[in-house]
Structure formats: C-alpha cells, structure tokens
Amino acid sequence: MLINVQNLVKRYGSLLALDHFDLQVSEGEIVGLLGPNGSGKTTAINCILSLLKYDKGTIEVFGKPMAPDAYELKRNIGIVMQNVAVFDELRVDENIDYFCGLYVRDPGTRRRLVEEAIDFVGLGEFRKFHPKKLSGGLLRRLNIACGIAHKPKLLILDEPTVAVDPQSRNSILEGIRELNREGTTVVYTSHYMEEVEQLCTRIVIMDKGKTLATGTNGELKSMINDGETISVELYVLQPEDLAQIRQLPHVTRAHYADNRLSVHYDGGQHNLLRLLDYLKSRELSFNRVFSEQPTLNDVFLEITGRQLRD
C-alpha cells in the first residue's frame, strides 16, 4: 500500500473539512479523488503531504508514517499543485532544474532528468521562455514538469487542468497515463468527472470531507439503478403512445416535453432498436436520436441528491 489514510479528521475552526476520511492507494493505480469544490480533496492531499495539521487519524506513505521531516519518503513523492508554483524570474528549463535539484543532487543526472521532463511535457521550443510568456496551458505543463522531473514513485496532482484549453488538457492526461505505464502511482484530484472517468483506474467520490463511494468507473455506475437514457426528437406523440412506450422492456420511466421524448432504462440490450421499431410501427416521424450512458454525475446525484457541479 503506497498511501494508507485512516480516520482522518481536519477542522478549520467550526468547519469540518475532513470527516473521518479514509483512503488507500495501491502501487500502480491511478486513483481519482472526485468531488465538488470544497469537498475536501485538496485538504486531504495537503494532510497527506504533511503540510497541514490535522485533528485525528493516521497517514502512512510507502508503509511508514508521514511526517514533515520524513525526507526519504518525500524524495519519492512528486506534487503538482493546484496553483502554479514556479518562479517568474526563472526560465522554463531553470524552473525545472531548480525543483529537480531539491531532490537530485548529481548535476549530470539532473541535466538528463530536466531534458526528459521538458520533452515529456512538450516544452522543448519554450525552454528559454519565462513563465509570464507562456499560455495558461503551457504554464500548467511547466507546473507538471516541475513536479515530475525527479521521477517520483508516487505522483499527486491537485486539479492540474484547471483553466486549461482542451488540447493541453488531453496532452496532460495522456502524459499522466504514460507516467503510470512507466510505473508511477498517481493520485489525481478533480471536479471534472469526464477527466476522472477517462483517466482513473479507481475513483473515490468525496463530499463534505467524507468518502461517499469507491470503485472503478463501472463499479460506481452499477451502484445506481439507472442504465442508459434514450432521447428522441419528434413533433407529435399521443398520450397512448407514451403509455405504450412505458410498457417496453426495461423502461423505468418516460416523458415527453418540448418535442423531446426521454426514455430511461434499468439495463437490457437492444433498447434503442426496440424503441425505434415502435415509433416506425406507429408511423411517427422523428429527427435526431441520442443515447446517453449514466455518468459519475448520475452516481453523485443518486448518492447526494445534488449535481456534482452544484
């Protein structure tokens, strides 16, 4: 077990930021901490890194108690902060070299690692730029390079894609996958469910400092009753047709409003075919058809009664 957090409690005055929070991370995993803003993700990370005092609980990293002076443990941890943590006065290559140098003493090794980090995040042509000259996406890449240059065994990324353009976001996510393939265990916090769904091998859904659910993407979605939802644009639908549709196999509910028919299923196969066959048999003309699988937002909604982005 690379990270083992048990029963962690952290208070900010009267606010309970972490409420008996547990987290276990095994080697080779990409664990996603998913939750809305203020759910306690960053607080949990800062406690794990020994930046924050906490009121109760135990934190072990690499099987040993984590402490501010646990330098041997820290040597194998990489951190990518939510806020970009670089020096504006240093160039891209100097920033990476500086932070890498806090972990790696040998100048030759450091030079090689810096070059690899620059290549990894694709900042080769910007290596002599100062951070203020970089776009938001490139700046985030630099922030990541500063956290990974020393090749940590455990990499913690706290919302690394906030305010990043889609192209840079995809590049960042692909880079994290590659690091994981090379053997780095990753803890990734985000409130973007799509990112967590795409990236993480295991997901921890958090809210109000508590762990609400843990599992793989499929395991979490199977926890809720909803299956796919099929939506059809059609101009006319008689109430008796709607009643018939509700009788189709696996339909849990169906409604028609604003020229749009929405049909929810609890599972089953060939649901779309069956629905379209019915509409054709009734000679109902329709336009576009959509099929949506349940999302982690549906899971969050089912558990908390709130949207993930509320």
């Binding site: 900010y12 890194l49 924050l52 820290k74 951190i79 943590a85 500086y98 806090l102 003493r105």
Partner: protein
C-alpha cells in the same frame, strides 16, 4: 544543496526588476535629487563675496587715519576679506550707488554715515561694521577721558581681542548637516533590503505561496533553504548599497571620511538588519503579501524619517524627547554609525551603533525562525 538553492535564489532576486528598482534605482534617483536640492549649500555658492562699498573722498575722511586703517584691513584680499572698497568723490559714489555697482556709500563728516539704496544682507553687514566702529571709538574715548593712564594698555588690548568660547573639533572633519541627509538615505537603502527578506519569507511558507508549499514538500531541511535564501538576499542588498555608496562618493563627491573598512562594515550590518527586518515582517505579521508589503514600506519610511531622511532636525528632537528611539531604530543606528565615523576620531559610539544593529537583527531573526520552524500549517 546550499549552493543550488543559493545560486537560483540569486538569479531570482537579480531578475526581479520591480524590487531592484525600489531597492537600487530609486535610492540612486533620490541621492541625485538630494544632491541638486542641497548641493548649493555646500558648493561654490557658499563662498562669501566681499561687500562692494564706496567711500566718499573728503577732507574729513582723509583726516581720519584710524578709520582709513580699519577699512583698509577689512578690504585686504584673502579668505577674510569683508569689503571691496572704492574711494570716489561724492557724485561718483552716488552714481555707483544708483546703478547698483556698490551696496552702500560711506560718508565721513562729524560722524560716520551710511547711505544705501535698499535693505539687504550686504547693507546690514555695512551697518554692523560702522556701528561696531562707532561703539568701539566711543568706548575708547570714554575710558581715556576717565583714565588717561590706561591708554597704553587699552591700545594693546584693542589689537588683541579675546574670544571666550572655543570651537572644538573631534576630528579633522568639518561638521556638515547636509551629510545627514545622505547618511539617512543610505540607512533607507539598507532598510529597503527588507523587500528581499520579505520575498524570502513569502517564498518559503506554504501558507503564503504555492512556491512555498512546493518547497515545503521537498526532501530538504527548511533551515537550509532559509539560510541559502537569506545569503542570496544579503549578497544582492549589500551589492546594491555598495553601488549607492560608490555613486555618492565618486559621482556626487560625498565625503565618507577615510575609514572605508568601517563604512563597508556599517553597510554590511545595515543590510543584515534590513533583510532580517523584511523576514520578520514576512513571518511574524499576519496578513497577505499586500498587507506585509505595505507594512514594510510604511515602517521603513517611518524609520528613515526618524533617522533624518526628510528633516535632519528630527534627530535632535528625538535625542531630547525620546532618546531610546535612536537605539531601537535600525535606520537611525545606521545613519548615526556613518555620522560618528565622520565626526569622531574614537570608534566607541560607532561600535555601540553596530552592536545595537547586530542585537536588533538577532532578535528579529530569532523571532522569524520561531515562526518559520513550524512544520505543519493550520491552513494552506
């Protein structure tokens, strides 16, 4: 590791243009401004020009040999020349007075008279000379009327006037109040080193900056980072103050005496005090970076004001009303260390100032370290 952190810190600080402006360029500009504002008080214009005077040539004047001798002695060329005398007939003297080529016209008759066209310093000097002559003449005549035997002694004492106060110099230097402004300016430059100390404090604390957080999770001892950062800040601020000193000494020709070693020591200890002060504000004062910067600027300027940056007279007021302030104000101690080097041959007062600066710096460093040594934060 120390050299790695130190060298990059040095780069960061030297490339921080905004802070370099306030800690170096601003002080150079202020020095130049002071030079042009006060330079005329110490320059060529301070030299006294003799008062141009016309004496009306008349039988009475030619008959008053003593008065002629007095005027001749006051007109002798040299550093003490008081009058530039022209003997002319009455019409010519009046023309000279009219066209302004003389400040006054002296007439000798039954009594000695002065005719001026306007009032001013030169005219006042002429009047003071004639009043003094008339007063002395009257005194001598009165004494001789009462005691004719005292004539010999009186004549010898008239030529040998005694002063009953004595000006004492503690060194070869000439006291110069204008220097006080420049010393206070150097003190301000030293206190502005606090900007570097403040930046260090912010960049090392996880609850003040993301950089601080990233450095806090690195596998290095915090004290090592703090010392490397402080050494870089001290190097930059000392270099800046040396540039200021060189500018004052070699470009503006400000006299620092001939004790360059002590001058450098004062600058170095002053920079330590400045960096410590910035670190103290950055760690002990609660608030965000803006609040801390505001407090640093306000405190530095207040200390510099109390050290005589804007008005030298404030030092006298503090010496009389609240002397303790002079011993706890680092800017006043720096300024006074320079002044004591310039004025006194003894170094006692200088070392008292340096000692107090070291003590204050040590207290501020200790207080900062007590805050910095915390390993976990209540909030980040």
């Amino acid at each position: 590791m120390f050299m790695h952190v130190f060298s990059y810190r040095l780069k960061c600080l030297l490339r921080d243009r905004e802070t370099v402006f306030w800690t170096l360029i601003f002080t150079l500009l202020l020095a130049t401004l002071y030079y042009f504002a006060f330079g005329h008080l110490t320059g060529e214009q301070e030299r006294f020009d003799p008062v141009r005077t016309a004496v009306v040539d008349s039988p009475a004047y030619r008959g008053d040999v003593r008065f002629q001798q007095v005027l001749a002695s006051l007109s002798e060329p040299g550093e003490n020349q008081l009058l530039e005398l022209t003997v002319a007939d009455e019409q010519q003297a009046e023309r000279m007075l009219e066209n302004g080529s003389v400040a006054g016209m002296i007439t000798v008759g039954e009594s000695i008279g002065l005719v001026v066209k306007q009032s001013g310093i030169e005219q006042s000097i002429l009047k003071a000379i004639l009043d003094e002559y008339a007063h002395t003449t009257k005194t001598v005549v009165g004494i001789l009327a009462k005691n004719a035997g005292a004539a010999q002694q009186l004549i010898s004492e008239l030529g040998d006037r005694k002063g009953y106060t004595e000006q004492i110099s503690f060194s070869d230097a000439v006291p110069d109040t204008i220097l006080g402004f420049f010393y206070a300016l150097i003190a301000m430059a030293c206190m502005y080193s606090g900007f570097w100390g403040l930046r260090n404090a912010i960049d090392v604390q996880a609850d003040l900056s993301a950089r601080g957080a990233r450095r806090s999770v690195a596998p290095i001892h915090k004290l090592g980072v703090v010392l490397a950062d402080a050494a870089a800040a001290l190097a930059v601020s000392f270099a800046e103050v040396l540039i200021l000193i060189a500018y004052l000494a070699f470009v503006l020709r400000i006299n620092f005496g001939n004790q360059i070693g002590y001058v450098l020591l004062t600058c170095f200890v002053g920079c330590i005090a400045g960096v410590s002060f910035g670190g103290f504000i950055g760690t002990v004062v609660r608030g965000n970076e803006g609040v801390k910067t505001g407090i640093l600027i306000g405190a530095s300027m207040t200390m510099s004001f109390l050290a005589g940056l804007m008005w030298v007279g404030i030092k006298d007021i503090i010496a009389r009303k609240a002397p303790v302030l002079s011993y706890i104000n680092p800017a006043a101690l720096i300024s006074d260390a320079f002044y004591s080097l310039y004025i006194f041959d003894s170094h006692r007062r200088f070392f008292v100032n340096i000692g107090m600066l070291c003590l204050i710096s040590a207290i501020m460093c200790a207080a900062s370290f007590m805050r910095l040594r915390r390993e976990r934060y209540a909030s980040v």
